[in-house]
Point group: C2
Chain length 187, copies 2
């Protein structure tokens, strides 16, 4: 899934007419549709960063890239503004049914999450357990508390149930994470 | 300059060891070095977004992109957080000596700047008049006021002198735009 996924990432930054009712897509698509809904309704302005790509060969005449490679992002995938507040998050899917492998979040990203938390930004993870069809918000404070106090290589589902906020599947928008944050004191 | 510039853009998102004293570079390099200085000193966390690239052909086995094209960004190039505040800006150079052509800022970007201003984010342009070696911050409020009240296709230098904040060339960091904003009430 990695490269098709990345391909969507590079185009998902553009605002295009969207069918908010579109269903049955992956977490990234759900979030992109939700963000476009927030933008169209002027509720918030949160965007997906383009996937960083290392360019090797470019045909300048044709403005065509002929050799390039995907790079690992050093920050999170999404950031923006809501009511003047800085919003920053990473979204991940896992097929695990009992825990979320921390290896899904690169060390650079963990460091970034810590920086944003310390800088008083609103920072969190959105994690979907695809086989359970359950999607949780885990605030940076709780994520960092876990990794700072555990040697475990994964965060158990029970921790998400205890500390996280469950995002119920909506219709419009797909997953109204800002509403969930507001209802749970995450904002 | 466009494509070499874009090539730097795609790599400038990575944090690498930096010689802050490095001199005589273009505005983007100056800003990237300044942002890395802010990050290393934990003052602010402001990053350049990767250049959006449209992927056409990818060799999945090699994870190699064999055909891709540059896309115009729909938002500004830089955003991040400083003391909990959302920071968002675009940086442009012009060789003009008397005015800044508004065509340097795409309509999508102007719309984004308006949205961020309305959402109470700290949004601005950094414009360098390369032949004058003068670099100004123009706050979104003043930028929008000009384009909303003028039919001119360019913003005269005199408007930057009147409404903008001059960024003096520093040593470390290259251009301390956050300090200039603080000193001029831009934050």
């Amino acid at each position: 899934m990695k490269y098709p996924n990345n391909i969507r990432k590079t185009t998902s930054n553009n605002i295009v007419p969207v069918n908010y009712k579109n269903r049955g897509m992956n977490l990234e698509s759900d979030i992109n549709i939700t963000n476009e809904y927030y933008i169209d309704t002027m509720k918030a302005f949160i965007y997906k960063k383009p996937t960083p790509i290392k360019l090797v060969k470019v045909d300048y005449k044709l403005a065509k890239i002929t050799e390039a490679y995907f790079e690992k992002p050093s920050t999170t995938d999404y950031n923006g503004i809501y009511k003047g507040q800085y919003i920053d998050f990473e979204a991940k899917e896992t097929t695990n049914k009992t825990s979320f492998p921390i290896s899904n979040i690169h060390p650079h990203q963990i460091n970034h999450i810590r920086n944003i938390y310390n800088e008083k930004g609103i920072c969190f993870l959105i994690v979907r357990f695809t086989n359970l069809n359950e999607t949780y918000i885990l605030m940076s404070k709780d994520f960092l508390e876990f990794i700072d106090n555990n040697d475990r290589s994964s965060i158990p589902l029970s921790y998400f149930k205890e500390k996280g906020f469950l995002i119920k599947d909506g219709f419009i928008p797909r997953i109204d994470y800002l509403k969930v944050l507001e209802e749970n004191g995450g904002l």
